[in-house]
């Protein structure tokens, strides 16, 4: 599933392994002096619990729209050459990439700023949800700010 309203910005969702090399290649630009790639991967241990795998679920149409809006805002705020964002959906094994953000810019400072801003914003607003499958056999949706999936409302 892919969304590309401008040739300089590509956002996508995939049920397959994220191809970081293809994403890097997609932001190549002769005007760029800096290329930045951020990859978010599944950690095996969070606190004292062991994660066996993850499942990502998304409100797909809106997730693509929101990723496009974030990339547009980044491109308006920093002089970026190209931006690519891809998020994985479905079952994700430990150590595999769940998200990749790549961008190119004339200078490195703006590349780092824009890259960090994009992943921070993605985690705030793109409607995608992670379900942790713990090694003890239980699983749980992750909803930051909600104390627990089994607690009742406050």
């Amino acid at each position: 599933m892919e969304h590309s309203t401008e040739e300089t910005i590509r956002v996508s969702l995939t049920e397959n392994a994220i191809d970081t090399e293809a994403i890097l290649a997609s932001v190549a630009s002769p005007r760029a002096g800096a290329v930045l790639l951020f990859v978010g991967t599944t950690r095996e241990v969070t606190g004292d619990r062991v994660t066996e795998s993850l499942d990502y679920s998304g409100y797909q149409e809106m997730a693509l729209e929101e990723m496009q809006r974030l990339a547009d805002r980044a491109a308006a705020r920093w002089p970026l050459s190209r931006v690519a964002m891809e998020h994985r959906l479905g079952h994700v094994a430990i150590g595999e990439a769940s998200v990749a953000i790549a961008l190119s810019a004339p200078h490195r400072k703006e590349a780092f700023e824009a890259g960090e801003w994009l992943i921070d914003q993605l985690k705030e607003s793109v409607p995608i949800w992670k379900r942790e499958n713990w090694a003890d056999g239980t699983c749980e949706w992750v909803h930051p700010g909600l104390s627990s999936s089994t607690e009742t409302s406050h």
Binding site: Y59, A63, L122, P127, W141, S153
Partner: protein, 82 residues
């Protein structure tokens, strides 16, 4: 009255036991009215409480936003992508 299908995701979908819940509201209703009515109608959604946002036509909507003319409405519990 308008009948608004509200899409549910993640824990909200599990709590409601449905991918979608339809809510009946007056024509002049806003997102705030939808919020009250939806939680009345499906008490199990209380577990996601007031941390949820609503999206109208694939954009986050303020509580004041009128729902008339909305093509697609969704309840968005706190997201955890990345």
């Amino acid at each position: 009255m308008q009948h608004i299908p509200v899409q549910l995701f993640a824990l909200a979908r599990d709590l409601a036991g449905a991918e979608q819940v339809t809510v009946a509201l007056p024509e002049e209703a806003t997102v705030a009215d939808l919020r009250v009515r939806l939680f009345d109608q499906v008490p199990a959604l209380g577990a996601v409480g007031d941390k949820v946002r609503f999206a109208v036509d694939q954009q986050y909507a303020s509580d004041e936003m009128p729902l008339s003319g909305a093509r697609e409405v969704a309840l968005i519990p706190p997201v955890s992508g990345g």
